[in-house]
């Protein structure tokens, strides 16, 4: 239970900010936090608190897998790369051939999720394929 005390503020915030299906489990010296945040800003807030308790996330005693609940089929997502275009690939993996590109800040449609990292998207031009979820921010 020691880790639950160390990260109490994080767990309390997750509980209080409406994270759905929240699961907090401590196993072999690691605290696993899973759930679905109601928005991207709640997810960011949780990572801010995590970074405050454990600067630069270097202790290795937390695995936090909180997704954003608005990332559902049919939702619009913005391409939030640094500056470059986002690769659209044939399958879910960087080893898959590139079949198209989505521009920085372009709005695309989320078709489905292959997994938490790879989403099947469609651009307004009709290009369809898999893109890396890190560079897609669901519109709220």
């Amino acid at each position: 239970m020691a880790l639950q005390d160390k990260y109490k503020q994080l767990v309390d915030t997750a509980t209080g900010s409406g994270v759905a299906n929240l699961q907090v489990r401590e196993q072999d010296g690691v605290l696993y936090i899973d759930g679905e945040a109601p928005s991207g800003s709640v997810k960011d807030q949780l990572w801010d608190i995590y970074g405050k308790i454990d600067p630069n996330f270097l202790s290795g005693d937390v695995v936090m897998n909180v997704n954003v609940a608005t990332a559902v089929a049919g939702a619009k997502a913005k391409v939030t790369t640094e500056t470059s275009n986002l690769n659209i690939r044939k399958g879910p993996g960087t080893d898959q051939p590139i079949v198209g590109k989505a521009a920085h800040n372009e709005l695309v449609t989320l078709v489905s999720k292959a997994n938490d990292q790879w989403w099947l998207i469609r651009t307004d031009d009709g290009e369809e394929g898999y893109a890396y979820a890190r560079y897609l921010t669901p519109e709220e």
Partner: protein, 164 residues
């Protein structure tokens, strides 16, 4: 006049007597009957009931508080039950499911995808533990750590990572 009154009184008496007789002869419900009724109710099959002179003692593990109350009410509604002693306990909640840890192969593939845009950072997976080395900025490491945690690793060990 007096005779009529007497007759009326006699008639009333008869009706009253008949009433008492009928009431007292209402068939008595035995403990066995109550027990049989409880046993035929499948909603009560997880509990133990003993019956003594119309008093039912319930014991065993109820699923939750609602089940505890519903079971007591169900027994109370059985004809002939005078009282219910509810000695049931509530079952403890099931233990949480163990944490799902990804195998090393999908972890290795996930790491390759996660680090594609960060060539100064390296990571390997062994027994579910992702070990991160190299160097990067704090902002980039945050993005990487978010992705790595989503791969369902056992642990992300970044003690050897240099943050610039």
């Amino acid at each position: 006049m007096e005779k009529t009154l007497f007759r009326l009184l006699k008639g009333t008496m008869f009706v009253a007597m008949a009433g008492i007789w009928l009431f007292s002869c209402k068939p008595k419900i035995s403990d066995q009957d109550i027990e049989a009724k409880i046993q035929s109710n499948t909603a009560l099959s997880h509990l133990v009931a003993t019956v003594q002179d119309g008093v039912v003692t319930l014991s065993g593990e109820a699923k939750d508080q609602a089940d505890q109350m519903d079971s007591e009410a169900a027994v109370k509604s059985i004809e002939g039950v005078k009282q219910v002693i509810n000695n049931t306990t509530i079952a403890p909640p099931p233990p949480p499911a163990p944490v799902e840890i990804a195998a090393d192969d999908p972890l290795t593939k996930g790491i390759a995808d996660a680090l594609k845009d960060f060539p100064t950072v390296k990571a390997t997976a062994a027994d579910g533990i992702i070990t991160v080395t190299g160097e990067t900025t704090a902002a980039n490491w945050r993005k990487i750590k978010m992705t790595l945690d989503g791969l369902k690793p056992k642990k992300v060990d970044a003690t050897a990572l240099k943050i610039n």
